[in-house]
């Protein structure tokens, strides 16, 4: 008996010692775990709190050091801060990793000791006296059903709430948001240089015929355009876009048509600014922002003489930008953009014909990816292309030296060409009365007809005019009369109907049409003429708009002074005229 008790007490004592040791280890490792966890949390929050503060400091110091590049002390502070930030990050990573391992080890020790202590204190099972087993089992089931029902009700009501939460309805039927505007939409807006088809004809007759820049009569608003340029404004809906640039920056500005507020401006990086080799364009050239942008209401695309082209959506987000390399153009690249369906069409003429550097390019309006590209052996030109519908077929017509070429805008395939033009081309073509009119500066006006011959389309010069040929402005026609405006103020009118051909003078193969009338206006004009109903709107470089009747004789209606120099052609919208002066954009409309 004694030995038994002695044995029991010995093993009992051992168990006690072990138990106490286990508990103590558990407590110690538990405390250790808590310490590690708090250290890890501290480490984590240090990262969250300290790092942003250091980052702020870093940004500040970086800009400072850039402004003061010679300051050695600032430089060393910047470098020290950078080292500190990097060391912090590495240390934080190391600490958390080490902490993780310590945590794991501590947890293992903690669990082992805790479980060991539980095991050591394990008692023999001693089931309690059973009372009313029957009732117990029945009650368990009842409670089980109730609890299950509660869980189901909770889940069900949550799902019920979810079911009645509003959800965005993308539409039972997918609404067809056209990827590109319809011809109607284009006709109602002023999406490109000289409006739809580059014709310079306003769709609205309700624009004012009187305004005054000095008194502000009929000037709805006037907003400063931050960067200069000769590009014309383009209008779509409630926005008007103007591009401007200088040797350092190239931007497009978006103004609100109602208030004239600058809604946003988008920049394209000027490679000259990056490389330190800016494009130098002096006064003899077309300037840094000569090409006019094009918009389809959803996006606006603009190109600059540096070869940078960029596209922004109507909210100002840059969709894409590309660079085709610096165009080799002695006056600075100036061709405006055209669009067709969901494509941007670029007339990229440069160098000499034999260099084979010129091409016409079609880009996807949304992504900027090249849809097609056609090389052409022409020299550089400063005309803008047009897309017009001839005989139920859309044609993309370009004037260049020496050819006038028509392409299929969908594929870039050449449809026809006529050799007639020469160097220094600036006036763009128009399409009127079934004829394409192209101008060779100071030399001739060509009326070109294209017709289908078998599988091909051929083009021929039907007649030409020799009077009052401009060198900058593009022609204007109402379908019966065609008007030319020279830089020095000579307005010449031709009758382009077929009936007028009996007055033509035939000289060898050439048919030369005399002018109908001519008028000296004693002003300089860079902006092309525009037509509103039966009225001509002629904008001189001094900012004076001469309004005259477009008829078989000249009749002036009025003159409106803006008080600012203007080189860009105006844009027309419903009840409004947008004129870009050298500094401001004016919105002219009836103020009542």
């Amino acid at each position: 008996m004694n030995t038994e008790r002695g044995d029991n007490s010995k093993s009992g004592k051992l168990a006690d010692i072990l138990y106490r040791a286990a508990i103590q280890t558990a407590v110690v490792s538990g405390i250790f775990l808590l310490i590690i966890v708090s250290l890890l949390l501290l480490n984590f929050y240090k990262g969250i709190i300290i790092e942003p503060r250091l980052e702020e400091q870093w940004e500040q110091l970086k800009t400072e050091v850039r402004n003061k590049p010679k300051d050695e002390e600032l430089l060393s502070r910047v470098r020290e801060l950078d080292l500190e930030m990097r060391t912090n990050r590495v240390r934080q990573d190391d600490s958390s990793r080490r902490g993780g391992y310590l945590l794991l080890g501590g947890l293992a020790v903690f669990l082992v000791s805790l479980k060991g202590s539980v095991q050591l204190r394990k008692k023999l099972p001693r089931p309690e006296k059973q009372v009313d087993v029957r009732g117990l089992q029945v009650r368990e089931l009842i409670w089980g059903r109730r609890a299950a029902t509660v869980v189901l009700i909770v889940l069900g009501s949550w799902l019920l709430i979810v079911a009645f939460l509003p959800a965005l309805d993308f539409g039972r039927t997918i609404f067809v948001v056209a990827l590109y505007p319809s011809m109607d939409e284009i006709a109602r807006n002023w999406p490109r240089f000289r409006g739809p088809e580059g014709a310079g004809i306003s769709a609205y007759n309700n624009v004012p015929t009187e305004w005054d820049g000095k008194t502000g009569k009929n000037i709805l608003w006037k907003s400063k355009v931050p960067l200069p340029g000769h590009s014309s404004p383009v209008v779509w809906g409630d926005r008007v876009y103007v591009s401007g640039a200088n040797e350092e920056s190239q931007q497009i500005f978006c103004f609100d048509v109602f208030s004239g507020a600058l809604l946003w401006d988008g920049s394209l990086v000027n490679p000259g600014a990056v490389s330190g080799e800016p494009l130098e364009l002096n006064e003899d050239t077309a300037g840094y922002a000569a090409p006019t942008p094009v918009t389809d209401g959803r996006r606006v695309c603009t190109i600059f003489p540096t070869g940078d082209i960029g596209c922004f959506d109507f909210n100002g987000r840059l969709l894409w930008s590309r660079n085709f390399g610096l165009p080799d153009s002695i006056y600075g690249y100036a061709s405006s953009l055209e669009m067709y369906q969901d494509m941007i069409l670029i007339q990229y003429d440069q160098g000499y014909a034999e260099d084979e550097k010129s091409k016409v390019i079609a880009l996807d309006f949304q992504t900027g990816r090249t849809v097609w590209e056609t090389k052409r052996s022409v020299s550089s030109s400063w005309t803008s292309p047009i897309v017009v519908q001839i005989d139920n077929e859309f044609q993309y017509i370009t004037c260049s030296n020496p050819f006038v070429i028509g392409y299929d805008p969908k594929s870039g395939e050449e449809i026809w060409r006529v050799e007639c033009l020469g160097p220094d081309l600036a006036p763009s073509a128009i399409y009127a009365n079934g004829l394409v009119f192209a101008i060779e500066p100071f030399t001739a006006l060509y009326a070109i007809r294209t017709k289908v011959k078998g599988d091909f389309r051929v083009a021929e010069i039907v007649w030409m005019g020799e009077d009052g040929i401009p060198d900058i402005t593009s022609p204007l026609s109402n379908g019966q009369l065609l008007l030319l405006l020279t830089t020095y103020g000579t307005l010449t009118c031709y009758d382009i109907t077929d009936e007028a051909s009996d007055k033509d003078r035939v000289n060898n193969q050439e048919r030369i049409r005399p002018k109908l009338w001519e008028q000296e206006l004693d002003m300089e004009f860079n902006a092309s003429a525009s037509l509103v109903g039966d009225k001509l709107y002629l904008l001189s470089t001094k900012g004076v708009m001469i309004i005259a009747r477009a008829g078989r004789s000249y009749k002036e209606i009025g003159r409106c002074e803006l008080g600012e120099e203007c080189y860009a052609s105006p844009a027309f919208a419903d009840g409004r005229i947008y004129i870009r002066g050298v500094e401001n954009l004016y919105c002219i409309g009836n103020k009542d």
Binding site: P125, L155, L159, A167, W320
Partner: protein, 431 residues
């Protein structure tokens, strides 16, 4: 320096004119005069697929050993050692991925998504524990599953969960399974992987909320036995049903039950069921009426569940990133939300048609609607059957480990005097 830079740019610009495809280099790669050789971009290869099949082999072997230890040898100690091994191998070495629980999603996606094909070993990971459970009961859960292993080893002081609470909380596992299958079938998300509480322990890293979740589960697991296994594991839902019809199963006693009651509190997971007693006549007839009502009401449960599941499709769809993108673009274009996100900017830059995105989102919603009806109906059926089960008197004569609940851990063996008798007999035979 500036001169060199400008020379480079001027030399390079004419070249740019001739190259114009979108991806071509702005600055053409140079031809080095010194004959400098370009270094090669290193491509360290991933773990060879061959090793995944080794893992599958280890899985098969481990399940085999676990089944042997649980059913034949009846050795709790052996199972404990195997549990530690599984934790170390499948947990810390393989970082808990890929696991049979997550494999449910891969298999579902394989079936419903034509663009995804699960690797063969994933199919193996999915099927092997199911087949073994069909034969041997939940021996996979006992000592092989790494998530189970963590919870098992963390268990210190089991608190018994009252039976009614246990039965009702178990419904959550069905919801988890249904949601996991639904989201995997539509390619929206792998929610089992996303909300796995223990994988962050195996990786020893994760973001703060995941680590806190792991901590909570560990803490809970110290007192509640295997909370994830019992109330949340979606794979366990399937294993439970298969285990109920398994060929062989763990029994508490090696031979006969002598009704000594010593094993009543042996199971930390509440899987030991007591013998049933005759009910009083009143509750018997009441329950019969209730049972009849519930069986008639089953279609109502199914329809209600289906409708609720189907109508949750708008919210469920938000889990899918394409739907979230479509909703964001929709709101931005209508000016109902300010600014843009990286995702909407990236989408607009691709030039994809917005209408196609909308129809894609619409199609996902529709799929989730149909799937929601099916899963909801299934959950309704489960709920109805659970209530039916809670109205039936089960006839049990001996103390048994519940066919579906028992995790084959073997803790109850040492509580049974018949087991001790068997061990004594084996010892005597050995000597």
């Amino acid at each position: 320096m500036r001169q060199l830079r400008s020379i480079v740019i001027l030399l390079v610009l004419p070249l740019i004119v001739t190259t114009d495809s979108f991806g071509a280099e702005r600055f053409p790669p140079p031809d080095f005069e010194s004959g400098h050789e370009l270094p090669v971009t290193t491509v360290p290869s991933p773990r060879q697929s061959f090793y995944e099949y080794i893992d599958l082999g280890v899985l098969v072997a481990a399940i085999g050993v676990a089944s042997y230890l649980a059913l034949r040898r009846r050795s709790r100690r052996g199972l404990f050692v195997l549990t530690v091994f599984s934790l170390l191998y499948f947990g810390f070495w393989r970082k808990g991925c890929i696991c049979p629980i997550g494999a449910i999603q891969n298999i579902t996606m394989s079936i419903f998504d034509s663009s995804y094909a699960a690797p063969l070993f994933v199919l193996g990971f999915f099927l092997v524990p199911l087949v073994s459970t069909l034969f041997f009961g939940r021996t996979f859960c006992a000592a092989v599953c790494p998530l189970g292993a963590v919870q098992d080893l963390v268990l210190v002081r089991p608190v018994s969960v009252p039976g009614w609470l246990e039965k009702s909380l178990r419904l959550l596992a069905y919801v988890y399974l249904g949601a996991a299958v639904l989201f995997a079938a539509t390619g929206s998300a792998f929610i089992i992987c996303r909300y796995d509480p223990f994988v962050s322990i195996f990786r020893l890293s994760g973001n703060l909320s995941v680590l806190i979740l792991a901590g909570c589960f560990l803490l809970a697991g110290m007192f509640i036995g295997r909370p994830y296994c019992r109330f949340l594991c979606p794979y366990g839902v399937i294993l439970r049903q298969l285990s109920r019809i398994s060929r062989f199963r763990v029994t508490i006693t090696p031979d006969d039950c002598i009704h000594c009651r010593l094993c009543e509190d042996a199971c930390p997971f509440g899987a030991i069921k007591k013998p049933t007693v005759e009910w009083p006549a009143k509750s018997y007839s009441k329950n019969k009426r209730l049972l009849g009502l519930l069986i008639v009401a089953l279609p109502v449960f199914v329809l209600a569940g289906g409708w609720l599941g189907g109508s949750a499709k708008h919210i469920a769809a938000k889990v899918n990133w394409r739907v979230r993108l479509a909703e964001r673009i929709y709101l931005e274009d209508r000016g109902q939300v300010e600014g843009t996100t990286d995702a909407s900017d990236a989408f607009r830059a691709t030039g994809e048609d917005v209408n196609e995105l909308y129809s894609e989102a619409y199609a996902i919603r529709r799929k989730l609607g149909i799937g929601g009806w099916i899963v909801g109906g299934f959950l309704g059926l489960v709920a109805g059957l659970k209530l039916v089960g809670l109205s039936i008197r089960k006839n049990r004569v001996d103390y048994e480990a519940d066919a579906g609940e028992c995790l084959s851990c073997g803790r109850c063996f040492s509580y049974c005097p018949r087991e001790h008798a068997r061990l004594e007999r084996m010892r005597q035979e050995a000597s």
